[in-house]
Amino acid sequence: MGDESGVGQGRVGQINVVGGGRRSGRSESREEVPLASTGQAGGTKQEIEMQVSRMVPKVGLQLLKQGKVSPQSYGSLLGMRATRNYANEAMEGSKSFAVGMFKGQLTTDQVFPYPSVLNEEQMQFLKELVGPVSRFFEEVNDPAKNDSLEKVEDSTMQGLKELGAFGLQVPSELGGVGLCNTQYARLVEIVGMHDLGVGITLGAHQSIGFKGILLFGSDAQKKKYLPKLASGENLAAFCLTEPSSGSDAASIRTTAVPSSCGKYYTLNGSKIWISNGGLAEIFTVFAKTPIKDESSGAVKEKITAFVVERSFGGVTNGPGEKKMGIKASNTAEVFFDGVKVPAENVLGEVGGGFKVAMHILNNGRFGMAAALAGTMKSIIAKAVDHAANRVQFGDKIYNFGLIQEKLARMAVLQYVTESMAYMVSSNMDQGSKDFQIEAAISKIFGSEAAWTVTDECIQIMGGMGFMKEPGVERVLRDLRIFRIFEGTNDILRLFVALQGCMDKGKELTGLGKALKNPFGNAGLLLGEAGKQFRRRTGIGSGLSLSGVVHPELSQSGKLAVGALEQFATVVEAKLIKYKKGIVDEQFLLHRLADCAIDLYAMVVVLSRASRSLSEGHSTAQHEKMLCDTWCIEAAARIQETIASLQSDPQQPQLFRNFKGISQAMVEKGGVVTNNPLGF
């Protein structure tokens, strides 16, 4: 690891930090914006700041870009409230493809061509890293032993520290490796390929554990904590979950009461299932603090993030939890009993912990997809090895259609996940602030694809796969948690669907406002009218990927555009039908999210395969097959879902049945029916 080149590498990684700082600066300068315009009464000062900070003056950029409206005309659109909690920017100027697809737009800026953000130097540096890391995991680390010991072996830990694996994204001047997100993803992929338990230890440490310091920490905090964290001398942990609080921020019970002198906070409470909870020295802790609203004088409890050292005293942890998988990683309950946390250890703003938590989670997700892409790679290798060597009826089993289909699907899933992971990391490295939906999609898709791939691998291997020895069962166990932690897939599906609907809904609201002044907004309205007309008459929206997708993939490109149009139509119809109430239509949201995931996946593989084809990679034709396979199946799935949402008269009946059956089960406390034998 050449330190001399590390300086250069650190640059990209630092952009995020600088960006975060600038954003908060902007919010301070705009405090005077009257609250009345946002229409929210009783918001605290922090809320105002947060809202204002999100009213980034990009509103209407999209429209301007299309040259359809004059600058005056979109002024009427500005009146609407632009609150955006779960993603950073006001969406009208969003370049995110996922945001665009809910609106029926092909926003190709971020996805086409497949981004390559690494410069020569960074690429070279990464290549130098990949070799030793791979070798380390192949030669030093023993995943089976870690699993049975239920801890990462000391020698492995030591080796990882020497490799610098604990500070991959810490700037090099603070003792880290200073990798950008894409470089980080590549290394995490190698970790995921070999040992997910170690991956969790590393991830809980740097992906969420001290990511808060990296993103929101003051210079003093960074200087104080990051060097020791980067070297691995101290481990970090992220303490959010409580027995009573999973996703619900309001039910957090841990409290941090400021002292009368204002110099420290007294922290009380407990956090459960904390990865590295038993090993960590530094904790990012979220607790409720009483905040006085300056305008009304009312005291409200808001969440604040703290950096807590174990050495402050009063921090204890329970024994390591017994788990199904990722046994090598340490998971423990952490207790805070009267811990005195200095006021300078507040992360971000006082009362701004919600934002901190969200940013950390959003920023950490892409790594998971990368790690899982690696896992799939190694699992597929095992499956292929078995399929290529196992002989039945005098024939290698890879000649059987059943096995061929399984292998092909596994390859497609791996290809999609890998493409997504690097697409998202590259977008983040490009400085995009609008990757939240994509990151969530990559986490959902990656965790489910990896589960399917591993499951199918065991199936191909038959009884052999069920045995401990080949190590696939361990991977299956390890994988299970990925669909649960950092936001369960179900909850992230709601996020994907609702965030998309929110942006689409804002567009619709804007359109309604524009109609108030039809002559001033003639361009916008004519554009919309034309879109509706084309959609109704079935001419199609005129969208096409023909310019950006490689000609050989034009068929798949058409499928993707068709699916996007159908998807946008149904999103619009459902939004108009349910309006705000769409948040409660979870049956619908689930289906919308599934479509969104498939759609994004299609575009991602189209982009990657196009690049390979146009650059003439040796595997280009194979990638074309993978891409076409995925697109054909995904388009069919989307079409089916959309058709049933749009016009299936039995769909409401189905939803009612789900409701009724589950209600009866809850009343009965289990299965409602009796045994067919009658007793």
Partner: protein, 460 residues
């Protein structure tokens, strides 16, 4: 002599632009129908004095014979030829007494159809059938047959067949038998107003009477185009005719105001037939409550009273019902639990979408909407009597399904049935095209004295 003068008058009044011959035929037809002398009309200025005396003497002498009261001629009164402008006078209807006699005094469908059939069979030439049909149309609501398709077909059947069908191009171009055609249109008009959908029989009759290109036939086609489209336009349909049973009526009324499919109707007390002479009398009590209301009542703070308020009017077509509500006052702001989901509630997904899609693009956004917050309504009822004793029984009945109600003080705030209803009712009938209804209105909405009135609180 009268006949001749009438004929002469009509001839002189004939519009010069019209076909003279046809006009003669028409007026003849009309004058033939006039032999009951009962049509009163003020005449042309030239001969008015003479006519007026004539009329006065006749009408005065006739008035003693006719039982029905004279009515004002409205604009819809079909007197296309004889009615001079700006001179509304009291008129007598031809066939008025004939109708009464023929119906045998029964004011129902059988009486009506009997009268019509008697007229149809009386004379093979169907003299005065136009006047008769106009009269019958006016009489329909009185006999309660205004929604009956068979009666309309029966009325159309009075027209002589094939006489008015144009036989050549000229007849087709010009208004062939305009008075008869107009009468036919009026029949269809009334069907339209009462929402009666014509059927094949109507079409067949019109074809036979007026032919294919006639005005009534065109009217029929228009009706058949629009009425089926509007047939189900009411999202809250009521049965026709409305049930007579007060319990059933209350059921319909309550379902309408509750507007909640999950709401359950409970009959707390069936009405005792009056002839049994039960003392005290047992009025019906029908209540409605939805599960949501039940849950809200269960959560109500027992320290705060709930109120029984009413009676409030509810109109079901021409029937006015009165209902009572069980409600509470709005909680003062300091006691309200903060159920609002803040923007920083969920770490993973937005729990609220901040959209303003409830108003359409054409709505007036500048319109100042003053949203009045009201306290919750827990239940509603309709009872045969509006006194506290009856409503207390309702509350007792409610306590069975809402045990929490036993611990909540109930205050009865009962008012009188408002006097302004009279006005509303008056307007209602004005709106209808048939004035005869006006006579019919029974004094059911007479102001009832308030039985129990607890002082309305100052806030009201």
């Amino acid at each position: 002599m009268w006949k001749a003068s009438g004929c002469h008058w009509l001839l002189t009044k004939a519009d010069s632009s019209m076909n003279c011959i046809r006009r003669t035929i028409l007026t003849l037809d009309h004058s033939v129908g006039c032999h009951f002398f009962s049509r009163a009309a003020s005449g042309h200025s030239l001969w008015q004095p003479e006519r007026r005396c004539l009329l006065q003497s006749f009408s005065q002498s006739l008035r003693s014979f006719h039982s029905s009261t004279a009515r004002q001629t409205s604009d819809s009164e079909p007197l296309p030829m004889v009615k001079p402008p700006g001179m509304p006078t009291k008129t007598l209807e031809p066939y008025e007494d004939f109708f009464e006699q023929a119906s045998g005094g029964k004011r129902d469908k059988s009486g009506f159809s009997k009268a019509v059939k008697t007229f149809a069979q009386r004379d093979i030439r169907k003299r005065g059938h136009v006047d008769f049909i106009y009269l019958a149309l006016r009489k329909m609501p009185e006999y309660g047959v205004e929604h009956d398709l068979a009666i309309y077909n029966l009325l159309l059947d009075i027209f002589p067949k094939e006489v008015f069908v144009p036989r050549n191009v000229l007849q087709q171009i010009f208004n062939h038998y305009p008075r008869q055609q107009e009468c036919g249109v009026k029949v269809l008009d009334q069907m339209e107003n009462f929402g009666v959908l014509p059927n094949k029989e109507t079409e067949f009759l019109l074809l036979q009477i007026f032919g294919r290109k006639s005005h009534p036939m065109r009217k029929y086609l228009r009706l058949m185009y629009w009425l089926p489209r509007f047939k189900n336009i009411n999202p809250f349909p009521l049965p026709r005719p409305l049930p007579k049973d007060p319990v059933d009526l209350a059921r319909h009324g309550l379902e309408r105001i509750a507007a909640d499919l999950s709401a359950r109707i409970t009959v707390y007390q069936m009405p005792e037939p009056e002839d049994l002479g039960v003392d005290p009398p047992q009025p019906h009590i029908v209540g409605i409550q939805s599960p949501d209301q039940q849950a809200a009542l269960a959560q109500h703070n027992p320290a705060r009273p709930v109120f029984v308020e009413g009676p409030f009017p509810l109109w079901l077509r021409d029937q006015c019902l009165y209902y009572h509500v069980l409600r509470a006052d709005l909680l003062p702001p300091e006691e309200r639990e903060d159920k609002e989901i803040g923007p920083e509630r969920n770490f993973y997904y937005p729990m609220q979408l901040d959209l303003d899609l409830d108003r359409g693009p054409w709505d007036d956004y500048e319109f100042d909407i003053d949203e009045v917050e009201e306290g919750p309504v827990f239940a509603m009822c309709m009872a045969g009597a509006h006194d506290q004793a009856t409503l207390a029984k309702w509350i007792q009945g409610l306590q069975i399904t809402n045990p929490a109600l036993a611990h909540i003080p109930v205050v009865f705030r009962l008012g009188a049935i408002g006097g302004e209803l009279q006005l509303a009712e008056h307007q209602e009938h004005q709106g209808q095209q048939n004035e005869q209804q006006g006579e019919q209105v029974s004094p059911k909405e007479v102001e009832e004295p308030s039985l129990v009135q607890i002082q309305r609180q100052a806030q009201n």
